[in-house]
Structure formats: structure tokens, C-alpha cells
């Protein structure tokens, strides 16, 4: 790498702008996006640079700190495969946008549109008449052995005659200043949601600069996306049901799937939400099957149908391919479109373009050579050190390998590998990408950049997103521009030639919208996740309440003589389902440590909080930003490592903080969720878990052979959050029957068992299929029976423990059994068909 640098023409910069950019000196070997060859700021960057100067570095830094917090709190993440910390890596965004002028962008768009059209036409040919093969434009060697060529889709004709609805093209600027294509993403392109989020963050951080630069808005592009999804529908084109299909939260861009679903207003689904009947796709809802017209998929095509594509995929929808053949569903992008991503085929694109359009390809790819051609192979073997080597067909997660810095021995190995099976390799010229300014610490430095342009089908042509996702390399030297391998992102500003269209999807303009009230149906999988979210969060709360009671007493100097401590510890160990009492039946502090901190303990706090977070992630599209912030806070409040060594009083403070977060979550659920099925399932989960916890607590504390000491009753009331009510009613006299009545039978106490049962009764009556039934369902029968029993219970005469069945202990035991019965019955009725299927194949030949 050369050390020549371009000095900035200081005449171009105001004093204050200079203080931001004064150290900026991009290397001269490649073009810089902001600084021209002459050292002056390029025309289309002038306004931005001047306004940033006026803002000043201090103010920019301050605003950017706020923006970063917004990114964190909104939970913008990107998952990195194979990295233990890879789940939910925070999104890296630079404050400085990448700027394009209107005329340059228009030229680029022209090339992008032509390219997208060629790719779509090539797909139509390869899955149809195969003229490209018959006329020897492309050799069969790049199609037939290509795993991206999905034979079950051959001959399928999409209703809208299109396979490529959305295209993303990775673009870099070459040393001569022209654009070239680094890669095409044709099957489930990612990046539109991140581009949008970047835009929102940057435009909020520097709104006045954004406004004065006349930046083209992104929203018009999303209008095109919505429009294309609607018109792709084979049925119900007026009001089609569109779903966004995600592989789930472990996917690298899951954040974007949830984000786009929410922004565009579509239901986020996983494969298990959908099913095929009579060649139509349906969504599994609590109330039954609902037809689906369009699947906007963010899942690789091989995974989409375990029956006809990859049999071991658990993410797919068996029968989807047949539904596509029957013309009953539109899949966007069409199944099989991943084929156009293969590097081997890319090498033939200029030929394909000439053949199909009779035009030269306006926006070329990096020069590439498919080694299956003898001439190309010879060239590649002779020029290996200057090239990048890629697998000819898409191999997941295998990037290009640079030959530049390899030893002579390594190069020989590669030559042998390539010569042994040349058709498997593609070589590409290494290109040096242009640079752009990036804020690194307190300085502005040059980083190599590439950006992803997005196109959406519109009529016979395509609309180009005016902007895109720009990414920069991790260091000044590196040419690797990838979120998977470090580096960061930038907003991309396309300056508007004319007035800026202020269209926004967030508030649709004057269109009459149909009024719809809560009561809409819910997918079984989402209901299942909400149910478990309710259970986990309540379970975590029960542990925290007990632990708080225990830690509070440990802080006290006289805890050795405390009579209630053993009781609380026992209740905690029951709650966490560990059975480690010593020979005296005592549970010690060590067990509490384990319950609070051991990550592997299934019912311990760590595992439960983890489950809260992952379950919440699964229904993230159903959550408001505020709710998500609380979930994020719960997750970060109490991650074990740093707390273990702290003093007891600090621990108490952390447990308090966690309680407040739980309360905030419960408050938002009560006050902000509409009373639909989603809320009901969340609350059902919570009520079932709270019933079980209360029964456990009473069983441990009120059913001993001797009446518990007053201190213990006090502690139980405190853990059950009912101490104030009790004191107000009965002053200070602590008696077991009164406590039992308040905690079990008092329907005005929101913590009591009877209260939970009454709420469950209300919920269950409103579930699909139960409203108009004459007979009570088994769940309703159990609830009615138990609630009546509680209402009739006389705690004054009921012995705590006795050999007969009529003691409190045995009543509580059977209540607990019934609560789990209710949970099982509800799951079986509403939730179990959310499970994935499995493949079986007959081995038929025995001869």
C-alpha cells in the first residue's frame, strides 16, 4: 500500500470544519469519495462538510452519543455465526454518511436496473425454455451441477411472471473512478431494514444538516416494495395476506426481519407457522387455518420445503413447491432465484445480457474467470497471486480467498486444487476500493468502502432505493468490507436533483383505513411464545422475590438466629426445583448462590432470564420499543459474572432493580397491550406460573407440623407482596388461617390463588372455540371446580397437615397438579401444532 496521501485543500474548509477533518488524509492510491484528486472537497460533499463544521465536533460527538444509545436501546443487532458472543452483536454505525450526487446516482441506477432485468430474464429462461443452454450462451456445467439450480422448480410459472422481485447489488468504486459490482444478492437480499434504521438514526442525530442537504427519502422505495408484494398475489389482489418468512432469531439479520415486518405492516412468520393444504398455503392461527397469498421470504430457498428441497430442513413448509406450481402462492423472491448468486454464472453475465437484451452490460462485475474454460484456467494458473479465488457455486459462508499474500508453496497447493477440478473454481481480479471518511475515536480516518444498492420490481422495470447500506473495512489497510468480519456501516445519502418527496410509510396519507379492533386472530406459534414469555417472566419474578427476602435478612447481623431464613431458603429451593437439603433438612446459602448464578440450572435465575430474553426475541415484532427496552434492561441488569463477588448490599440493590424492571414490563402489558389474544396468552402464562408459585410458597410455609413462628409469617407476606394489605386489615396479629385466606382465597388480592384462577377463567372463556360452547371445556371445568373449592374453604377448621385428604397440604398438592394440567390442556388444544415435522423416506429397493 502506498504511503502517498492527498493533503486537503484547506481553502475549502471553514476553521471549524477543519477541526473535524483537519487530520483527514486519504491515501492517493485509490479515489476518495469526499476529497478529489486535486485535494479539494468534491462538490456534492460541500454542503455536508460546511454544515458539519458549523455544528462543530463537540456537538456532533454529544449527539452521536445519544444516537448510539438509541441504537442499543432499539436493539439493532447483527448476529455473527460461529462467535460465542455473536448473538445480538450491536450494530456499528458511523455518524458520517456516504454522499452521492444526483447525476452520478442516475447513471448508476440505470446500470442497476438493466442488471436486475437481465438476472430476472435469465432465471425465467433457465427454469423455463433453457434457450441460454440450447444456444450455448452458457455451458451446462454452470447450471446442472449447481446446487442453486432447484430442479423441482423447473417449469413452475409464477402468477406475476417474475422470479426476481427484490435485488441487492454490492458495489465498489474502482481506482479509475467507475463503479463495479462485487456481488449480486438474488434470493433473500438483506440490508433494506438496516439502511432504513441507519437513516432514522442519522437523520435524528443531525436533522438540520439532513434537511439542508436535500437528501432523497427512502420511504418511496418501501412503498414500491409494498406495492410489488400486493401485486404479486395470485389471489385477493385487493387485500392479500402477505407474510414475512424468517428462519428465526438465530439468523444473522433477524433484527431486520422483525423490523421490516413491523414497518411494512406484515405478519412475521416462521416455517412452522405455515402449512399447505390442497395446494394452498395457510397460516396456523388459534382460530384455525387462514389462507396466505404472498410469502416475502428471508430464508434461503433450499430450506423452504423439506418435502421437495432439503429434506433435513426444519425451517421449511412441506408442500410449498407444489403450491407454487399450482399458482396459489407468490414467493418473493421466487424459489430457485439463488442460482443467480453463483460466481460461475456471474462470469457469463455480459454474454447473457448481449443475448437476452441485445445490449452491453452497463454495470459490469469485477472481471472474473470460471476455471471450467480452458483458456480461463490457463490465465488463472499463470496469474494466481493477483487473484481472489471463490467456489464456483454458492457455498454458504465461504468468502473469497486472496492469493496475494500466500507463499510459493501455498500457491502451488492452490494450483493443484484448481487443476484437479477446475469447474469448481472462479477467480476474480482483486480490486482496490475507494475510501471515505469514518470517525474513529476522536479522529476522522479513511476506510475502504462498498455499498449495497437495493432494487424492487415495479411493473416491467425496477425501482432503485435512493440510498443503501454502506459498509466500511475494519482497518485502513483491509479491503474486506463485511459485517460478518468486523467493520461498520454508514448511511448513504443521495442528493436530490429536485424537490424531496416527503412521503412516509409511518403515517399513510389520507387513505381510508378499515377500522379494526382487538380480537384479530393470532398464530399458534406466537401464542405459544407469549404464553411462555409470561411463564418465564413470572418464574423469574418469584425467584427474585424470594432471593430479595433472603438477602435482606442476610444483611442483618443477627441472621444466625433468624427463624424465618430456613423457611425462605426452602421455598426458594422448591421454586428453583433443586433438592439439596442437608441431613437436617436445611438449605443453605450455597444453594441460593447456585440458584442465582449457575447458568446451567434449568429453573435457576440465569437460565430463566435467558429464556425470557430468547422467548421475547421470538415475538419481537409484537413488542413496542419501550417493552423491548425493558427486556434489554432485564437481560443486562443481572448477568451473573460481575455480581457474584459483590457485597450483599449491592446484590440487594440489583435484585431491587430487577423487580422494578419486572414491574415496568407488567405495567406496559397491562396498560399498553390491546386486549386481544396476544395479551391473553401472555397473561395466561403469567397467571399459571403465579398460581403455582403461590401454592408452593403456602405449602412450604403454612403446612408444617407446628405453626410457623410470627417472623416466618411476616416474611411470607412480604415475599407474597401482601404485607401491607394484611397489616391494614388485621393490625399486627399474625395467624395462619388469616394469612392462608389472604394468599389463597381472597379474590380482591391480585397475588392470591383465587385471583389467578378467576382471571384464567375469564381468559379461557374468550379463547377461539370456547365462546359459543354449551358445555364447559375440561380446562373450564378444572378452573370452576378449584375456584369453588377455594371459595368454600374454611381455614379456621382446616388442619394444616393431617393423615387424611382434607388437610391444607393435600388440597394444595392437588391444586398444583391441576395447574399443570391446565397448562398441558391449553398447550395441546392451541399450541402444539406449532412443532416442526420430520422427514421419513422409504428405502424401497431390496433386490
Amino acid at each position: 500500500m502506498t504511503t502517498d496521501h492527498i493533503p486537503i485543500g484547506h481553502a475549502d474548509l471553514s476553521n471549524r470544519a477543519r477541526s473535524l477533518f483537519s487530520h483527514y488524509s486519504p491515501a492517493a492510491a485509490v479515489p476518495d469519495e469526499m476529497i478529489g484528486r486535486d485535494g479539494g472537497v468534491r462538490d456534492h460533499w460541500q454542503t455536508l462538510v460546511r454544515l458539519l463544521g458549523e455544528l462543530g465536533p463537540v456537538e456532533l460527538e454529544k449527539r452521536w452519543a445519544t444516537a448510539r444509545r438509541l441504537i442499543h436501546e432499539n436493539g439493532v443487532t447483527y448476529n455473527v455465526y460461529g462467535d460465542p458472543d455473536g448473538m445480538d452483536r450491536p450494530w456499528v454505525l458511523d455518524a458520517l454518511p456516504l454522499v452521492f450526487s444526483a447525476p452520478e446516482w442516475a447513471g448508476l441506477s440505470d446500470g442497476l436496473i438493466q442488471r436486475a432485468r437481465v438476472l430476472d430474464m435469465a432465471l425465467a429462461d433457465i427454469y423455463g425454455p433453457q434457450r441460454l443452454l440450447k444456444d450455448a450462451i452458457i455451458p451446462p456445467d454452470v447450471i446442472f451441477p449447481n446446487p442453486g439450480y432447484l430442479r423441482p422448480l423447473v417449469g413452475a410459472r409464477p402468477a406475476d411472471h417474475r422470479r426476481l422481485h427484490m435485488v441487492a447489488t454490492d458495489i465498489g468504486r474502482c481506482p479509475d473512478g467507475s463503479f463495479c459490482v462485487l456481488a449480486d444478492r438474488t434470493q433473500a437480499p438483506s440490508g433494506t431494514g438496516y439502511a432504513l434504521e441507519n437513516r432514522i438514526v442519522v437523520s435524528r442525530a443531525i436533522p438540520e444538516i439532513f434537511r439542508d442537504c436535500h437528501v432523497s427519502r427512502l420511504a418511496t422505495f418501501f412503498r414500491s416494495v409494498r406495492n410489488l408484494l400486493q401485486t404479486a398475489a395470485p389471489h385477493n389482489r385487493d387485500n392479500p395476506r402477505v407474510v414475512l418468512l424468517t428462519p428465526g432469531p438465530y439468523n444473522e439479520t433477524y433484527f431486520e426481519h422483525a423490523y421490516l415486518a413491523q414497518y411494512l405492516g406484515y405478519t412475521l412468520v416462521e416455517g412452522a407457522d405455515l402449512t399447505v393444504r390442497d395446494n394452498r398455503v395457510f397460516m396456523k392461527m388459534l382460530g384455525g387455518l387462514q389462507p396466505v397469498d404472498v410469502i416475502f421470504r428471508r430464508q434461503d430457498d433450499g430450506y423452504c420445503d423439506p418435502l421437495e428441497l432439503m429434506p433435513d430442513s426444519t425451517l421449511g413448509i412441506p408442500g410449498l413447491v407444489q403450491a407454487v406450481h399450482a399458482g396459489n402462492v407468490a414467493v418473493v423472491n421466487g424459489l430457485g432465484s439463488g442460482l443467480m448468486e453463483s460466481p460461475a454464472l456471474g462470469a457469463f453475465l455480459p454474454r447473457i445480457c448481449r443475448h437476452l437484451l441485445g445490449e452491453e452490460l452497463k454495470l459490469p462485475s469485477v472481471t472474473s474467470y470460471w476455471c471450467g474454460h480452458e483458456e480461463s484456467l490457463r490465465y488463472v494458473l499463470d496469474h494466481l497471486p493477483q487473484l481472489l479465488i471463490k467456489p464456483a457455486f454458492n457455498t454458504p459462508r465461504q468468502g473469497p480467498i486472496s492469493m496475494e499474500s500466500l507463499s510459493a508453496g501455498q500457491l502451488d497447493d492452490w494450483r493443484q486444487r484448481i487443476a484437479a477440478d477446475p469447474a469448481q473454481f472462479v477467480a476474480e481480479a482483486q480490486i482496490s476500493l475507494s475510501t471515505a471518511p469514518v470517525i474513529i475515536g476522536n479522529r476522522v480516518e479513511a476506510r475502504h468502502i462498498a455499498f449495497r444498492a437495493h432494487l424492487a420490481a415495479a411493473g416491467e422495470s425496477y425501482d432503485v432505493m435512493p440510498g443503501g447500506l454502506a459498509r466500511f473495512s475494519i482497518s485502513a489497510e483491509s479491503m474486506i468490507v463485511s459485517m460478518q468480519r468486523g467493520g461498520g456501516s454508514k448511511d448513504t445519502w443521495v442528493l436530490s436533483g429536485g424537490p424531496v418527496d416527503s412521503f412516509s410509510l409511518l403515517s399513510p396519507p389520507g387513505l381510508p383505513m378499515e377500522i379494526s379492533r382487538a380480537g384479530g386472530d393470532l398464530s399458534s406459534r406466537v401464542a405459544d411464545n407469549l404464553f411462555w414469555l409470561g411463564r418465564y417472566i413470572e418464574r423469574a419474578e418469584a425467584i427474585v422475590r424470594l432471593s430479595r427476602g433472603i438477602v435482606g435478612r442476610l444483611v442483618d447481623q443477627n441472621f444466625e438466629s433468624s427463624t424465618e431464613l430456613p423457611l425462605l431458603l426452602e421455598a426458594l429451593s422448591r421454586q428453583a426445583q433443586i433438592d439439596r437439603a442437608d441431613e437436617h433438612g436445611k438449605v443453605g446459602e450455597a444453594e441460593m448462590e447456585e440458584i442465582l448464578f449457575a447458568p446451567a440450572l434449568a429453573y435457576g435465575l440465569q437460565a430463566t432470564l435467558r429464556s425470557v430474553y430468547t422467548t421475547a426475541s421470538l415475538v419481537r415484532d409484537r413488542m413496542s420499543i419501550d417493552t423491548w427496552r425493558i427486556i434489554n434492561r432485564i437481560d443486562s441488569d443481572f448477568s451473573g459474572g460481575d455480581l457474584r463477588d459483590r457485597r450483599l448490599s449491592d446484590r440487594l440493590a440489583s435484585l431491587d432493580k430487577l423487580m422494578i424492571s419486572f414491574a415496568a414490563f407488567a405495567g406496559l402489558a397491562m396498560e399498553s397491550m390491546s386486549r386481544g389474544l396476544a395479551w391473553r396468552f401472555l397473561d395466561i402464562g403469567r397467571r399459571i406460573e403465579r398460581s403455582a408459585a403461590m401454592v408452593q410458597l403456602c405449602r412450604t410455609s403454612l403446612c408444617g407440623s407446628e405453626p410457623p413462628p410470627p417472623n416466618a409469617l411476616e416474611a411470607v407476606l412480604e415475599v407474597a407482596d401482601s404485607a401491607i394489605t394484611y397489616r391494614r386489615r388485621y393490625m399486627t396479629s399474625l395467624q395462619v388461617p388469616l394469612v392462608a385466606d389472604l394468599l389463597l382465597a381472597d379474590e380482591t388480592n391480585p397475588r392470591s390463588l383465587a385471583f389467578q384462577l378467576a382471571r384464567l377463567q375469564e381468559h379461557v372463556a374468550q379463547l377461539p372455540g370456547n365462546q359459543h360452547e354449551a358445555r364447559l371445556t375440561p380446562v373450564q371445568q378444572i378452573l370452576l371446580l378449584r375456584l369453588t373449592e377455594l371459595r368454600l374453604m374454611d381455614f379456621n377448621t382446616l388442619p394444616a397437615v393431617a393423615a387424611k385428604e382434607s388437610c391444607l397440604q393435600s388440597r394444595l398438592d392437588s391444586m398444583l397438579v391441576d395447574m399443570f394440567q391446565v397448562s398441558d390442556l391449553l398447550s395441546r388444544r392451541y399450541l402444539t401444532h406449532a412443532a416442526p415435522g420430520r422427514s421419513i423416506g422409504a428405502s424401497a429397493s431390496t433386490r
Partner: protein, 301 residues
Amino acid sequence: MAVYCIRHLTHYRYQEPVTVCHNLAHLIPRDSPGHTWTQVELDITPNASRTTRLDCFGNRTTVFTIDEPHLELRVESRGVVDLAPPRISALFPTSPWESVVNLLRGKPDGEWLAAAEFRFRSPHVDWTEEIRGWALQSFPPGRPIAEAALDLAGRVYAQFRFVSGATNVSTQVAEVFERRTGVCQDFAHLAIAALRSLGLSARYVSGYLVTQPPPGGSRLIGADASHAWISLYVPEYGWMDIDPTNHLWPLEGHITVAWGRDFSDVSPLRGVILGGGKHEVTVGVDVLPADAEFNEPSEAP
């Protein structure tokens, strides 16, 4: 003129109810030269909604769904086929095998594109240098392709042992090559791998074989099973069927149902089920002369 009645029954029994199943079958015979089919039927119990379409190889692919809980699934295909005698009965002169390799690599022409589908690696057909070396022993320079291919099939027959149950659907060619044992499907995959390793086009054929009764004995009902063999592209002739398991040529009594690159393209029945627990499957095939009567459906594991 030989007319046969065919019955092919696949019977699944599950430990627990299957709530939904989606299936893909290649059981309705395709159109193929020398075969005239009548009375073709596919019975599915419990009742299923179904669709049959042609796949990219021209096979009839049936997709069906059962969405009522069931503990058993019975799929039975039946048909009557009038089988023409083989078109050729003696080895005919063919081109040197290298010229066929060059033709397949060269300019597009006639059957060329269809043949090109079958000269690459596929899910069950992979090869090593060792397999290629082994194949070359039957393909010395200039040897006519048909003669060389029959020699190769003869070597599979001579050097490999048929052992029922030695392998399963996912056994790879290299393993079969090393162990020298397998069933018809493995021998077909091996022969295809050997031929493709040389640059030739060969496809996998799935169907039935008429079992000849032992001299003086009566025809064994239920001893028939579904069978697999290969077909080689020979420019002068088109596609030439070869049975490496039995080393018969020309083939008589081979009834074609479907063909593809390998087993994965034409598996008779596969599915995705919800529920079911453990399952048992039995498959039985009867191929009888049209004048014979079916006894009770028989099932061989």
C-alpha cells in the same frame, strides 16, 4: 408380447398418531419407450388430497397430504404394462468412448442437452480418483462405448456381492466401492459414478423386474421388489439400459417407472410427518403375468 400386472404396496405403521403428513411419490409410471400402460391406479389410505405433475425429467410426481390423525398409511400403485421386446438383441457397433466424451463436451445438438443433465456429480453419485482408475480398466483407448460399458457392468457383477440390508438410502458410492457389497441401488450408483467420472452421461432408472420362476418351480409371489438399474447415453442408439446387479443384456422384463440423476430424484415414496413416534415400514411388489391371479397382497420387509 408380454403383459404384466404390477402391484406395489408401501405400508407405514406408527406408534403414535400422525396428525398431518405430506408426501412425494414416484409411483405412477412415466412414459418410456417400449412400455404401454393401462389401468394405472394409485390408492392411498386414509384418503388424501393429491396432485400429479411432470418433473424436469418427465417423471410423474405425485404430491399428497393427509390431514386427519392416522396410525397407518397404505400407498398402493397398480398397473398393467404391455412390454415390447428389446429393440436390439445383439451388440451393435458403437463409437469409441472418447468420441462420445468429446461430443458431450462440444456443440449442442439433438439429445445433447438432455444427456448433459446426467454427466455431473449428484447427491448420491460422487467419485474418487480410485473409482475413475477402476472404471478406466474397462475403457482402454478406442474401445467402443457399448462394449466397454457392458464390460464395466460385468465387473460390478463379478467383484461385488449382493447383500440385502448391507447399506441404506444414504450410503455413499465410495463406501460401497470399498466394502464391495451392496444392493441394486448401490450398484447402480457405483456404475453411474464410474461412467460419469470418465465424462459420459448415465442416468438412474427405477422400476420393477419380472422374476423368472426357477426351472420347474412356480413363480414366487412377493419375491419381486422394486429394482434399479442404469441407462447410458450412446449417440448411435440413444439410451442403452444396463443392469449391473444382474449383468443381463439386453434387458428383458425390466419395467421402467422413473429415471433421474440418482435415487434422490426418483425415490418411490418419501414424506414429512407430524407426530408418529417410531414407525415400521413394509414394502411389497408383485409382478405377475396378466393371466395370473393376485393372491392376498403380500408384504416383504
